[in-house]
Amino acid sequence: MNAPREKLPAGWWGPRQVANGSTCRWHIGGLELQTVPRDTCWEISHRYHAPVGNDEPTDWRVTTAEPTEPLENLERVAFRKPVDTVELLPLLADRPLVSRLTSPLVVPGREKVSIYLNQPLWIGLRFPGSQRPVREFPAIRLSDTWFGADTIHGELCYATLTFGRLHLEELVPRPHRAITPIVISNHSDDDLRLERLSVPVPYLSIFISADAVRWTETLTATHRDPTELVNITISKGIPKEAGRGGRLLAPPRKEAEKGVLSRALGTLFG
């Protein structure tokens, strides 16, 4: 598609007008998303050009062009009257994200460390007049995984692979990811070995800092005894690492009610 390439400094989200019959195509992470308004109907198609778990290229772009063939998975959304605007929304996953560390991390007894996870975002597609997105697409195609004691008790999650960076400066911000700081306090005398981390992203918000990096709230996990559940709290607001001048980009999908949250977050480490 020979089309003018346009890079929006603010981010890929927000409303966008598309002329009737022309094509608007976004490349975000591993996702290619195309929308074409045709009178009272919008054609939506998408495909993934990267394998599962891969999010190359790391930038994003949007192109507009004359009508082209739809990508894969064509769907149509119909309205009473012609609609010329579509809005992209940043969202977090609808299920917890289980991040497998590329190399296990050991937190010795009485130690406290912070790690940073770059969580993939979901892209919501909303039209004027509706409160909720009509369709949602993960920016990266993720595998399903199970997080639980056995194959009967547990929770279905999405799987990601992460380095589990200990230093923020090592983390490369990407437009289709949000950084989640996790503070792990090992109050026991034994070492705490981490191989997988289940992050309850449906309870987290997305913030954007002054330097246009996306963040979620900080999670604090306190480990006291191997036989006890991990006590987890979600800090309110944008993390201090994001600096000043940040703002809320998207509220959490689920409100963490008292009691419900402690159960849902009862197991963070696997």
Partner: protein, 312 residues
């Protein structure tokens, strides 16, 4: 007898005491109906949070008829009926009915046990003997199952109690087992790597519990393997089909042979060599059976008739 006579008889029979007793009996029954309805409603509301719909329905009916029966007995007692005689007659009757309808009674009791045990619910996928299907309803005498080719199968509850029933959708995860065979010459490490990459690259294969590569043994024609991946129960059927197709495609692309059973014919030391017939290019040997030519005329290999050569 005329109407006057009937009227006199009626007036003699219907004494004020009897009218009073009938009114009391009616009152008991009305109160019983209201009380049974309220109690059944409360039971249903209390149980619905913890039990399945069938168990709730069972509990609701039990409470309703239990309470109603108490009030009916009280009403009968008010009318002067001897309950002991009535219960005795009911006992004798139930024994008689029991003997006459053993099968139905057995199914009925089995149905109650099924509701209490709750091995499966409506909409579950089950396997009973050779029958696979979705549970449509669990009734008192039988359970209705819709097979995947859209037939309704009625399975007596007694059968379900006596035989092995597999509930395929009880748990959220299910394992897909692929039975594979590769030729003896193949590099098993390479086969393993290809299969693992297939599972890693499929979004519906669970990352954890991880895929399993199981060496099953040296088969008669192939090295037998099992490759197992976990998935959500609702994805099981589609994933199994997709994986078999992908395995075939990947094995073909990587020149991994999927062997079929081989048969070697031993003809013995004294057996004559196999007769060999050569066909022209583009013609099958069977096309013109009468035009079989001498091998030496067409092919130098024909000099050695014991080396069976096949051309197509």
């Amino acid at each position: 007898m005329n109407l006057q006579h009937w009227r006199d008889l009626m007036l003699a029979a219907v004494t004020p005491e009897k009218v009073y007793a009938i009114l009391w009996a009616l009152f008991f029954i009305i109160v019983g109906l209201v009380a049974a309805n309220i109690a059944a409603g409360l039971t249903s509301r209390l149980l619905s949070r913890r039990l399945s719909s069938h168990q709730v329905s069972f509990g609701r009916r039990g409470v309703y008829y239990g309470i109603l029966m108490l009030f009916v007995f009280s009403a009968l007692s008010e009318l002067g009926l001897n309950l002991g005689v009535l219960l005795g007659a009911a006992g004798v009757l139930s024994v008689a009915i029991g003997f006459a309808s053993q099968t139905s009674a057995s199914n009925l009791i089995s149905g109650l046990f099924l509701v209490l045990e709750n091995p499966f619910s409506v909409d579950d996928w089950i396997k009973v003997g050779d029958t696979y299907g979705v549970v449509l309803s669990i009734d008192l005498l039988s359970t209705k199952v819709r097979t995947f080719d859209n037939l309704q199968v009625r399975i007596p509850n007694e059968t379900l109690i006596k035989t092995e029933v597999t509930t395929l959708t009880k748990f959220p995860l299910r394992r897909v087992d692929l039975q594979l065979g590769v030729a003896y010459k193949e590099d098993l490490e390479k086969v393993r790597r290809i299969l693992m990459e297939l599972a890693d690259g499929h979004p519906r294969c669970l990352e954890e519990p991880g895929p399993l590569f199981i060496f099953k043994g040296f088969g008669s024609s192939s090295i037998d393997l099992q490759f197992s991946v976990w998935t959500r129960t609702e994805n099981w059927f589609d994933l199994k089909n997709e994986l078999y197709l992908s395995v075939k495609r990947l094995f073909d692309a990587n020149d991994i042979e999927i062997p079929f059973p081989h048969l070697s014919l031993y003809t013995g030391a004294v057996t004559e060599p196999f007769p060999v017939r050569f066909a022209q290019d583009g013609k099958g040997a069977g096309d013109e059976p009468s035009e079989a030519r001498e091998p030496a005329e067409e092919d130098p290999a024909g000099d050695e008739p014991t080396q069976a050569t096949r051309r197509s």
